[in-house]
């Protein structure tokens, strides 16, 4: 911060145009670095740091260094709004990456649009970029690309009837609507059972799924309900395969479910286990490269949430290459809208109406839980 101010002062006194060219491109990383959703924000901060180092090591963007300023939202939407304002008005950033959660992104997006600063959020909900607004883009795989991946997997395994267990919160209901819309297209039928996220026993729902004689059970819910359902299913020896949504692709799920998740399946972004992706998958090389780079830099494998930040910076990096004149807020936005590349989340083909990842070849894999660890099928 201080050095930036000093640099600004130096430029002001010299008033020289060439000095401006050496001024860094400022990127605001607005993440929850503390608080309840810090498990998402911290790997994303590391991912941005990694990308900035990579870019600066090869000379920055058009000779200008990339300077990242980190802001801690604590997972709080109000705070995210304040910090985005601060980044735009006080720190004069050229690009905003983040926030990580849907709530924060929905709150912060209007500011980016009003102040005309490009923002690449990592929200898991489609509502942030549907309909697309001029300055807001999104990198995370949302449920509209996740559900077809599930249905394709089920088709491959020959399942005809799905018992879908959804929570009555936003995540569950959004998933339910998509399954209802898409299941018929794959020639499958759906039975749905619901529960409140805080419910303590889902025996009745599992019983109904068992009686419906579905080929597979799909659980679409956030913590902690899936772990309870697995306990209930184990207690009554539920006979069919059980799948969990990508909300459960974490060590936390293994910890909560213990032995009851044995031999069940979890869908996840390939970043959790890139080797599970087939070699001919178009995203495989990108993901392997990012996975290895992250691991080499931090001596730990990346959490799948890191890929949203890795993609955001990769998109910005590719956009800069398309800019002919000066790098500023407007030229960055226009170039980002022309993005056409394979990232860690999938294939990005932005247009004035599409500001999120496409559902083509989504790098989602289905892992099996073996000895309380994720393993390729």
């Amino acid at each position: 911060m201080k050095s930036t101010l000093l640099a600004l002062a130096a430029i002001a006194t010299l008033g020289a145009a060439p000095a401006l060219a050496q001024q860094p491109v400022k990127v605001a990383a607005v993440y929850a670095l503390t608080g309840p959703i810090a498990p998402y924000g911290v790997p994303q901060q590391k991912a941005i740091q990694l990308r900035a180092e990579q870019i600066n090591a090869r000379g920055g963007w058009k000779g200008r260094k990339v300077e990242v300023i980190y802001y801690d939202t604590e997972g709080n939407s109000n705070k995210a709004v304040q910090l985005v304002r601060k980044a735009i008005e006080t720190d004069k950033v050229d690009l905003i990456v983040g926030p990580s959660s849907t709530g924060e992104s929905l709150a912060a997006a209007p500011i980016a649009n009003a102040d005309k600063v490009p923002m690449i959020t990592h929200s898991g909900a489609q509502s942030v970029v549907d309909p697309a607004t001029p300055y807001v883009f999104q990198t995370a795989q949302y449920d509209r690309v996740g559900v077809p991946a599930v249905l394709k997997e089920f088709q491959k395994k020959g399942f005809k009837k799905i018992a879908l267990l959804t929570s009555t919160d936003g995540f569950g209901q959004s998933g339910l609507a998509l399954f209802k819309e898409m299941t018929p297209k794959y020639g499958m039928t759906l039975v749905n059972e619901q529960f409140n996220r805080q419910d303590t026993d889902m025996t009745a729902q599992v019983l109904r799924a068992k009686q419906a004689n579905a080929d597979v059970m799909m659980i679409w819910s956030t913590f902690p309900a899936p772990a309870i359902i697995l306990r209930n299913a184990r207690a009554m020896a539920y006979p069919k395969p059980i799948y969990n949504s990508f909300a459960m692709a974490s060590q936390e799920f293994l910890k909560q479910s213990g032995s009851t998740s044995e031999n069940t399946f979890v869908m996840t972004a390939a970043m959790l286990m890139p080797t599970a992706l087939p070699d001919d998958h178009p995203n495989k090389q990108v993901i392997m490269k990012d996975y290895e780079a992250y691991k080499a830099r931090y001596h730990e494998p990346p959490n799948p949430s890191a890929q949203h930040a890795l993609d955001a910076m990769a998109i910005a990096d590719a956009a800069v290459a398309k800019i002919h004149g000066e790098i500023n807020r407007q030229s960055l936005r226009d170039a980002i809208e022309k993005t056409d590349m394979y990232g860690d989340n999938g294939y990005f083909k932005f247009s004035p109406t599409v500001h999120g990842v496409s559902d083509r070849d989504v790098p989602i894999v289905f892992l099996k839980v073996v000895h309380n660890a994720f393993a390729p099928q």
């Binding site: 309840p36 009555t168 059972e193 619901q194 529960f195 409140n196 805080q198 303590t200 026993d201 889902m202 025996t203 009745a204 729902q205 019983l207 109904r208 009686q211 913590f223 902690p224 772990a227 309870i228 306990r231 207690a235 009554m236 020896a237 936390e252 910890k255 909560q256 479910s257 213990g258």
Partner: protein, 289 residues
């Protein structure tokens, strides 16, 4: 399927019953509705989960320790806060219990974190299905412990001096004082007992339903509904109300619509109250109005 749904309903109903009984004890002794009752359940589950997961204590030690801790917190809440309030009206004290509940929730968040924890069950092994009904091992612990606790509490209230004085203080505070009963001690004892019962419920259900600092509201609401359904003030009503609510919820989820489960169960609660406003086993409470 019917038997399984019934038994699962009874299982969660046992937990509701303990919370409802806690409401009843405090109500009978002080005339107060203790809105922090759900937080006792939450603390019982969070503390026992922390002891058994983070410190590796066996569940059969972690659970009693957490019950003692919550009992002490509940007694302290009454002695240190409610009894010292300037305005001793039911409304002011009721609001205080809401405030204390929020403080307790925050305290648990900061002390034990926000994660959902599943502590190990009290014992290993699996119970074979009886007549097609599966009961998890922890479920057997819930049934057994609640049954024993109910008998003990019943004896305490019906036969002991403590039970008499608690009922007397609830009936008429003034007359109780004249008979040499200290309403303050009775009130603190009532809170301590409600704390112990809530914590017992929390420690029992945590291995099945997870422990988290936010779960208090849920259990408080369910326990309160059960107490109202049974007729507030009646211990028998509290137990019956809890079991009925648990079974109703499961029948609604199993035979009607799982998404509407709570709405159906609470809709029936409203219906019962319209037909019999004092609750199924109530009657005495009308006199208070």
């Amino acid at each position: 399927m019917a038997a399984q749904i019934f038994v699962s309903g009874l299982l969660i109903g046992c937990v509701y019953a303990l919370v409802a009984w806690g409401f009843t004890i405090v109500y009978n002794a002080t005339g107060l509705i203790n809105f922090a009752a759900g937080e006792f359940v939450m603390m019982g589950s969070v503390i026992s989960a922390a002891l058994s997961i983070k410190l590796g204590w066996p569940a059969l030690i972690a659970a009693p320790v957490s019950i003692c801790a919550v009992t002490a917190i509940a007694a302290l809440m009454d002695w240190g806060c409610l009894q010292r309030a300037k305005r001793q009206t039911p409304l002011a004290l009721g609001m205080l219990t809401i405030g204390i509940g929020i403080v307790l929730r925050g305290a648990m968040l900061f002390s034990f974190g926000k994660d959902f924890q599943f502590p190990p069950a009290f014992s290993d092994g699996e119970i074979p299905a009886i007549l097609g009904v599966n009961i998890p091992t922890q479920g057997a612990w819930v049934f057994g412990t609640v049954f024993i606790a109910a008998i003990l509490l019943w004896q305490l209230f019906a036969r002991s001096w403590l039970g008499w004085s608690m009922r007397a203080a609830g009936e008429s505070r003034r007359a109780a004082v004249l008979m040499g009963i200290s309403p303050r001690n009775v009130s603190t004892t009532a809170f301590a007992m409600a704390g112990a019962m809530g914590a017992l419920a929390g420690a029992l259900i945590a291995p099945l339903a997870s422990a988290n600092y936010t779960s208090g509201l849920f259990f408080g609401l369910k326990g309160f509904s059960a107490a109202i359904l049974g007729g507030i003030g009646s211990p028998l009503g509290a137990v019956a109300g809890g079991l009925i609510l648990g079974v109703l919820e499961n029948i609604a989820a199993g035979y009607m619509s799982s998404g509407w489960k709570d709405a159906i169960a609470l809709g029936i609660l409203i219906l019962v109250l319209l037909i019999k406003p004092t609750g199924i086993f109530g009657g005495r409470s009308v006199k208070r109005v």
